[in-house]
């Protein structure tokens, strides 16, 4: 078959951590820590994970090979800057030399923040932005538990500036962890709401990375495969939470979406979602789910052939449809999916009032994620999208 399209020729690079995927890979975590020279592990997690059986198994495996650790679990969803600083103090006090993050995006991001602070010895707020710190973080191993955030393979860390009521985005190649251990079994302890939020998060990662202005062929590969996997397994997974095939496929989808957005970055869904999460402490996945259809509406004209490709992957009938019809089909699909995974909220039901919109837009317009949105947004554009999402 002859290729009927041109590939991207501009320079691009692709980075990813070493990762292991598969059932019971969680037991490998201890070995990786040892290999990376752990003397004392800073074990970041949260209160939900602490109660899981598999977390205890990880601890046991650490003990078995004689690795010392200190557990830091005071991490909330949308992790806060002071939590990072508290973790850093413990890291230094306990003379740790390696980070093991077991949990979702919040845990991994907070652990990354601790890593930045202990290596660069300043408040985490000083490192907001792209490439803002000079010393690399300590060795870091992740056991992700959500199949959504994929911070375990990305160069991003999102920390809530608690006083500023907005989320700081910290981006650096040095924030890519050393090892990610993806064990689908750990996903089985998630409830359906969390699973739904995670899945929507992964889908928004994949779509935003694919249409990103920094996209590359290898990102595209991962992004489209993630979209395909989500389309085929998301709803089914929610109806059978203990099915390891569905869980594993969603985990793979999240990994692919993570690799794609880590390298191609994101767009307005995330800039606006960060603003919402920071100001109102809302669930990131849920915000994404609400915003995604409206951002597609805003962006479509700037990357119509890409959105058309997404629609094709989603098996939407695009053959005889013009752009406007494809756009509407895609938006409908997303709205429909949101309903199917039982996220029935809008911004209004989440407590956003219209008088907050200017503030939310002001915060969102400063987010680095806008940089790769296919249609460069103005503050006014973001206000419009927020209004539409009400």
């Amino acid at each position: 078959m002859i290729e009927n399209y041109d590939i991207e020729l501009e320079m691009r690079k692709f980075i990813s951590p070493e990762f292991v995927f598969g059932i019971d890979s969680r037991f490998k975590a201890a070995n990786f820590c040892k290999k990376l020279g752990a003397r004392k592990i800073f074990l970041a997690t949260d209160s939900r994970i602490l109660k899981t059986f598999w977390f205890v198994e990880i601890l046991t495996s650490l003990q078995k090979i004689g690795l010392e650790y200190t557990i830091f679990s005071a991490i909330s969803p949308n992790p806060r800057d002071f939590e990072v600083m508290a973790g850093s103090e413990i890291y230094k006090q306990e003379k740790c030399n390696l980070i093991l993050a077991v949990g979702g995006g919040s845990v991994v991001d907070c652990a990354k923040g601790v890593g930045i602070v202990v290596s660069n010895l300043q408040h985490i707020r000083n490192f907001e932005g792209v490439d803002m710190f000079t010393n690399p973080i300590p060795p870091m191993v992740c056991v992700p538990s959500t199949a959504g955030a994929s911070s375990d393979v990305s160069q991003f860390a999102i920390i809530n500036n608690f006083e500023g009521k907005y989320k700081m985005v910290l981006i650096s190649k040095a924030l890519v962890p050393d090892v990610s251990i993806l064990d689908p079994l750990v996903l089985t302890t998630k409830d359906s709401y969390l699973t739904a939020c995670n899945g929507m998060n992964a889908l928004s990662h994949a779509i935003e990375a694919y249409v990103s202005s920094a996209a590359s062929e290898f990102n595209n590969l991962h992004a489209l495969e993630a979209i395909r996997l989500i389309n085929n397994n998301f709803v089914q997974c929610l109806s059978d939470l203990n099915n390891l095939q569905f869980r594993a496929k969603m985990m793979l989808a999240s990994l692919y979406a993570g690799l794609a957005f880590s390298n191609a970055s994101l767009g307005c869904v995330h800039s606006m979602s960060h603003s919402l999460g920071g100001f109102l402490d809302l669930s990131h996945g849920e915000c994404n789910a609400i915003l995604l259809p409206h951002v597609v509406d805003f962006n479509f004209s700037s990357a119509s052939y890409k959105y058309r490709k997404i629609a094709e992957v989603l098996n939407l009938n695009t053959l005889n449809s013009n752009d406007s019809e494809v756009k509407q089909k895609l938006i409908n699909y997303l709205l429909n999916l949101k309903e199917k995974v039982n996220i029935k909220t809008s911004l209004k039901t989440k407590g956003v009032s219209s008088d907050l919109i200017p503030t939310l837009a002001s915060n969102a317009i400063n987010d680095p994620c806008n940089a790769t949105n296919p249609r460069p947004p103005k503050r006014k554009d973001l206000e419009t999208i927020f209004t539409q999402a009400m």
Binding site: M11, R12, K13, I15, G37, N97, V118, S119, V130, D131, N135, P136, I137, P138, P139, Q155, I171, S172, K173, A174, L175, V176, D178, S213, A214, N263, S265, I365, N366, P368, N370, A371, T372, P376, K378, R379
Partner: protein, 540 residues
């Protein structure tokens, strides 16, 4: 923010130089910091050591040097790369050998050699102990050479070698001197002891006895001269000789010596000439008569001794504001390379000479050192077998004021039928000798009173107004001569007191004068001196 999206995008894509994936860890960072500090400490040590350190690549090209080496080799640290080890060795070094050593060091052997090194540009030569070791430096096999400068040590060594050979020479001369001295002393002693044994035998004739006694006297005098020489040289060596400058007419002195040595010269069948040069009349200067007499006698005696035919000529003149006395002979001469040595102690130009001619080899040394003491020198012009001319050079210190002025007060003894003479002397032998001298020299009737210390002398002077003349020893028990003289002068200011002492230094004379003594004679008292005193005070 809105305007910076492109910049952000580029940064996120991470193709810039400053974008890094985590490739090393904080612990490594710590280690690197530690290593950097170790490295900086090593650099400090490298630059603080007192030895030079030079790091070469395996071809000998210099890669780095420390501060000391930079000083030693006189090359700037930044320019080391222009140099190679071979640039600093002197051209005469065995480069093949050096190459072999170099190869061995590269194989891992340690070498240490001593070599001369030439400084860059200045070519200043110095000596180094060079220790070479192989090392690994910034990924290269290198040779580290440590240079310890021992130029100073070599200098000290050379100085020590010179000092040692001087000491050995001096030791050799002293041994020779001792051998000489025993020979020199033994000869007159044989004469004295041998003939002293014979002189009392009843079976010898008066004529023979007379001969024997004159031999004993001659031998005694010779012995005395030897002892004088030895004492003189040791005093000169210890810088204990006083210069006693008086008004001396050099020409008169030469005339005097001429008449003394004329006979001796005639005995040896050579002529002795005294030459009057222009300006000789000016030759009245302040100098030490005794020392000058000795210097010239010595030179004259030598000249006569070493001249077998021809003449010896003496004369004096004034040249360049210096008094120049010369003693010229037609004798054996002195070879050029010996001309310096002969003025050193215990040396004669030829070792064999001693046996033939005799003498201690001290004469010229005493003469020269005395001349130096007088502020002058002795110079020699000579060729072997062509005769020699010794020049005694003295500073010209002309006598301008009235030279008759004497420190001591002049008194006269009133004429009497019979003089009463007081001799104050604690040594019996000395008193006996003085008594004998009076017997020989004083024809006028006299009587001698003898006391043994100063106190007795004062007492007797108090009670006996008849005393006309006092001969006072200065060093005595109970009360010494100076105090005694002072006390006597209080009672009898006009009584002539003649001090006599073995310590005829200027100090002693001055002290005696202050005490009121009217004259000073040195012990042992010569018959001549004694005659003069008798003539001055007690003659008819």
């Amino acid at each position: 923010m809105e305007e910076n999206w492109e910049k952000y995008k580029q940064k996120i894509m991470g193709l810039g130089d400053e974008s890094f994936k985590k490739s090393y860890y904080p612990e490594l960072q710590t280690k690197i910091t530690e290593l950097e500090s170790v490295n900086s400490n090593l650099q400090t040590i490298f630059d603080s050591t007192s030895d030079g350190i030079v790091i070469h690549d395996k071809f000998g090209k210099i890669l780095s040097i420390n501060r000391k080496a930079s000083e030693m080799l006189n090359i700037n640290k930044e320019k080391v790369h222009d140099f190679s080890i071979a640039d600093f060795f002197s051209k005469d070094i065995n480069f093949t050998e050096l190459y072999t050593i170099w190869e061995d060091v590269l194989k891992g052997k340690t070498f240490s050699i001593e070599s001369a090194i030439n400084q860059h540009d200045t070519q200043k030569k110095f000596f180094v102990h060079l220790a070479m070791n192989r090392a690994f430096w910034y990924g290269k096999d290198v040779i580290v050479a440590i240079l310890s400068d021992f130029t100073q040590r070599i200098k000290y060594e050379n100085e020590l070698i010179i000092a040692k050979s001087k000491a050995e020479e001096s030791d050799r001369l002293k041994t020779e001197f001792l051998r000489n001295i025993s020979h020199e002393i033994r000869t007159p002693m044989n004469g004295i002891i041998g003939f002293a044994n014979l002189v009392n035998r009843p079976d010898i004739s008066e004529k023979d006895r007379g001969n024997f006694i004159s031999i004993i006297l001659k031998s005694g005098n010779r012995l005395m001269r030897i002892i004088d020489d030895i004492l003189e040289i040791s005093k000169l060596g210890a810088k204990q000789v006083d210069v006693n400058e008086t008004d001396v007419n050099i020409f008169d002195l030469l005339t005097e010596l001429f008449s003394i040595y004329l006979e001796k010269a005639q005995e040896r069948g050579i002529e002795l000439l005294l030459k009057k040069e222009t300006g000789y009349k000016k030759c009245r200067i302040y100098t030490d008569r005794q020392k000058l007499t000795r210097i010239i006698s010595n030179l004259l005696e030598n000249a006569i001794r070493f001249t077998h035919e021809g003449y010896v000529e003496i004369g004096c003149g004034l040249k360049n504001n210096l008094v120049e006395i010369y003693i010229k002979d037609t004798g054996i001469g002195v070879e050029l390379d010996k001309q310096k040595i002969i003025f050193e102690r215990f040396s004669q130009a030829e070792k064999g000479l001693t046996r033939k001619i005799g003498g201690l080899g001290l004469g010229l040394a005493i003469a020269r050192e005395s001349a130096l003491l007088l502020g002058g020198d002795i110079r020699l012009e000579s060729e072997a077998d062509e005769g020699s001319t010794f020049f005694v050079i003295l500073p010209y210190k002309p006598v301008i004021s009235d030279y008759q002025i004497e420190a001591m007060k002049q008194v006269e003894v009133a004429k009497k039928e019979k003089y009463t003479i007081l001799v104050v002397e604690d040594e019996d032998e000395n008193y006996f000798y003085i008594e004998t001298l009076f017997k020989i020299k004083l024809k006028h009737p006299y009587q001698i009173l003898h006391v043994e210390n100063g106190l007795e002398a004062v007492e007797i002077c108090k009670v006996n107004p008849e005393i006309d003349f006092v001969l006072m020893d200065l060093k005595m028990p109970i009360l010494d001569g100076y105090e005694a003289a002072e006390k006597i002068k209080e009672i009898r200011p006009n009584l002539p007191i003649i001090a006599q002492s073995a310590y005829a230094s200027k100090d002693n004379k001055a002290h005696a004068a202050i005490a009121g003594c009217n004259d000073f004679i040195a012990k042992p008292i010569s018959l001549e001196t004694f005659s003069k005193i008798i003539e001055k005070y007690l003659a008819e």
